[in-house]
């Protein structure tokens, strides 16, 4: 039983409303319920497959406009992040030292492939748009 229906019955029991009014309120709740459910899109979202980078540069130097259109499969990114687990321990230590010296205290050995994979999963929600007079850049997943 929903909270609102319980409230209506409670008001009826306390004598705040009549039986007819309670019936009307419950009928109104029944009418609203299916509409509320249908408002929520329950279909599963299609998983993005590709990372797209589109760059458009208008004709500024009489060479004609430039256009770059790159499509990278997310599967390739997933395989790429697994490379991180293959970095030799000595190289990780040296990279950590260099990062610390540059003021970026990140421990690369703490980066787990699962975390990076989760990061890629959420790339689907990402859209980057840069709109400048001399160039337009659009990065998104599809």
């Amino acid at each position: 039983m929903s909270e609102q229906r319980r409230d209506v019955l409670q008001m009826l029991a306390e004598g705040k409303i009549s039986a007819d009014e309670a019936e009307q309120l419950i009928a109104a709740l029944d009418r609203d319920q299916p509409a509320a459910v249908s408002d929520v899109d329950t279909r599963p979202r299609a998983r993005p497959k590709y990372l797209r980078v589109v760059v458009n540069v208008p004709d500024t130097d009489d060479d004609g406009p430039a256009r770059v259109n790159v499509r990278v499969p997310l599967q390739l990114l997933r395989a790429g992040v697994r490379l991180a687990s293959l970095i030799p321990p000595q190289a990780v230590e040296r990279a950590n030292d260099e990062l610390r010296r540059s003021g970026v205290p990140i421990d690369l050995s703490q980066l787990k492939p699962e975390q990076l994979e989760e990061l890629i999963e959420h790339l689907g929600d990402m859209t980057v748009e840069v709109d400048q007079p001399d160039a337009k850049v659009h990065v998104f997943c599809e």
């Binding site: 256009r67 499969p73 687990s85």
Partner: protein, 86 residues
Amino acid sequence: MMPQLITISIRPPQHKAFRLWVPLLPLLLVLSPVLVIALIAGVVACIGYRINPGRALWTAWRLLCGLRGTRVDVEHGRTAVLVAIR
């Protein structure tokens, strides 16, 4: 599944465009003697750097398979380059 075909299309500004289709499987078969040597060198390097060679080979295979669907299309004026991996 590994990629089957690489398409390279180049359109120079003053010349006629040409398109090249490279079937990957026959190419790998032709290059197989070189690939075997590269594989052995890779395994030796992995052992030298204390990396699991099986894991490294699996990752390299996944990278190769992940290339399927890659497309790079660059146009500048009358010049255009397209690389598509299918």
